[in-house]
Amino acid sequence: MAPQADECDRVRSPMMPATSSNVEPQAAHYLDIVDVVKTYDGVRRAVDGVSLAIPKGEFVTFLGPSGSGKTTTLMMIAGFEEPSAGDIRIDGRSLVSIAPHRRNIGMVFQNYALFPHMNAADNVAFPLRMRGVERAEQLRRAAAALDTVGLASMASRHPRELSGGQQQRVALARALVFEPDVLLLDEPLGALDKNLREQMQVEIKHLHGSLGITTIFVTHDQTEAMTMSDRIAVFNNGQIEQFAPPLEVYARPATQFVGGFVGDSNFLDVVVSDPARGLVRSNVLGELATAPSTLAAGTAARLMVRPESFRIGAGADAPKGWWNHCSVRIEGSVNYGDSVLVMGRTGDIPIRLRLSGSDATPLTEGDTVRVRWRAEDSCLLAR
């Protein structure tokens, strides 16, 4: 299913590519997922009409909570699950009736799935062996692939003799050595500790950059999705809520689910009063300015403001722009060192503000402060 009517369309800068849409010419598409449905019992749909058009070389992340259909979609691309309806195509060729072992798709599994009875080199050489590559050539290419992931010296180690990060790299080398058409990564960083995870993020990105292979990365970690992707497909309830570059997903979420799942956010109930000028009305805060929208006047909607969009003070000295104001009664704060998360209320609406340390120091519990945010830092979402 295409993303729901994107209320933020009007404010999209002309630099941003259009989101997945059916009107684009098919020329650039390499991996095409068309109206794919997966149901196990004929009633409940694990994947409910997913369509994605992915150009060659793109790094796409499937982001969503568990059970949202992202892994099932990946499994259908790999061929371990069969779509109940719809089609999956690479370069215009349908994959649906092709057995997994003939698809030429590389995959890194969540638990790496290295063959425990083979050493690293034999693991990496396995896909070449299955393709009838000559033994000497197998070993040469496996060694080269292990070298790319920095494990040249570990070739004769068995998986159990390797650390989690090393196993991960072997799995990556094994998935890439046969030059697959598409690379699938199923939450490959989930089992690693934080530092290693960040290091692997950089390495995977780097590998993607140098190989230019079309990559699909599945994760439930929004930070991973933000830092690694060319585009993010946000999954929820078997559908794609938004398919757009990370910054766009963050700044202009298509739905309230996306706004809440990606990053921290505040939601205000409003009624659209003047869509062309971007004016809305809140029962508590009165008239507020936001970006122009396509919603009709009188529509009930939600205004999303990110916690870091707030500034302290009425803003007489603020740079030009259309600012909204409100008073917030402070109820508590959490200091993260690099920033402070302040929790408060305006009227009866809970508000979260993320402030720099120096802005937050003078604030104490029970204070009421004036805060402001720019019209263009908010986003209007259908309710």
């Binding site: 790999a78 061929g79 371990f80 057995a99 997994p100 072992h101 003939r102 698809r103 030429n104 798709i105 590389g106 995959m107 599994f109 969540q110 638990n111 799935a113 290295l114 063959f115 425990p116 009875h117 396995f126 896909p127 299955m130 393709r131 180690r157 068995h158 159990r160 003799e161 390797l162 650390s163 094994r174 998935a175 046969f178």
Partner: protein
């Protein structure tokens, strides 16, 4: 358990009481007395020589090997596919199949033996290798099934998916991934079936007759007719074989543990 305390005298006594009958056959096998006698009046290798030259003993030994190998092979042939089906698929009658597979475990051996005796008699399968192999296969099925299905349940199916993903057809996935990973379980299961058949006495007594007599049956016959000291020789040889097998498997386990420890240290 306090672990480090030395074994007390009472424990030694109990151990001796239990183990002595097991070991008493060893000195008796080196005796030259005309019948089983303890302590042996004189020492010698006469009965060993007799055992290894007497076809009335070597034939049952050979029979036992043939039947145990046959039963192990047939059991694996039946139970390997059965375990895969039971562990990996949901189908109608699955619970009933499970019950049937485990039934021989609960039925008394003597009842099973009687059943085979009358049933195989009408099929002319008594006193044949085929009959004994079939019966022993039936007895080995439950243990082999339990061993294999436990191993299969613990098998990470992502390994098979990875194999397919990397270009291996289902047959090659089995050959290059599933089988090698499960090989230890297959070996243990086959060994179970072999030992179960080699050791089995009750059913063998009823249906193996003279032509397909197994070693346990021959020992029983020899004891019943005359207390032939060759029995002590056979027992000693069996005991030695078992001890060698146990020590061998322990050594293998120890080596694996040590390799894992090295692997752990490497991390």
């Amino acid at each position: 358990m306090t672990g480090q305390r030395p074994i007390g005298p009472l424990t030694w006594l109990i151990l001796a009481f239990i183990a002595a009958p097991l070991l008493i056959v060893v000195p008796m096998s080196f005796s030259t007395a005309p019948s089983l006698e303890f302590p042996p009046p004189r020492w010698g290798f006469d009965y060993y020589r007799a055992f290894f030259t007497d076809s009335r003993w070597l034939q049952p030994l050979l029979n036992s090997f043939i039947i145990a190998l046959g039963a192990a092979a047939l059991t694996m042939l039946l139970v390997v596919p059965a375990s895969f089906a039971m562990v990996r698929h949901r189908f109608r009658g699955r619970a009933l199949t499970n019950l049937l597979l485990l039934l021989p475990l609960t039925a008394p051996h003597i009842v099973i033996a009687l059943g085979y005796y009358s049933y195989f008699g009408s099929l002319h399968l008594t006193q044949t290798y085929a009959g004994v192999i079939l019966a022993h296969t039936c007895l080995a099925v439950p243990m082999v099934f339990l061993t294999l299905s436990a191993a299969l349940k613990g098998f990470d199916r992502n390994l098979e998916r990875a194999g397919a993903n990397l270009g291996a057809s289902p047959l090659r996935v089995f050959r290059h991934v599933t089988f090698p990973v499960l090989r230890p379980a297959f070996v243990v299961a086959a060994l179970f079936a072999f030992v179960q058949s080699f050791d089995e006495t009750v059913v063998a007594l009823f249906i193996s007759g003279r032509d397909a007599a197994t070693l346990p049956r021959k020992i029983f016959d020899a004891m019943r007719t005359q207390a032939d000291p060759i029995v002590a020789v056979v027992s000693t040889l069996l005991l030695a074989a078992v001890i060698a097998a146990v020590i061998g498997s322990r050594a293998w386990q120890w080596r694996r543990k040590r390799m894992n420890a090295i692997a752990f240290a490497a991390q």
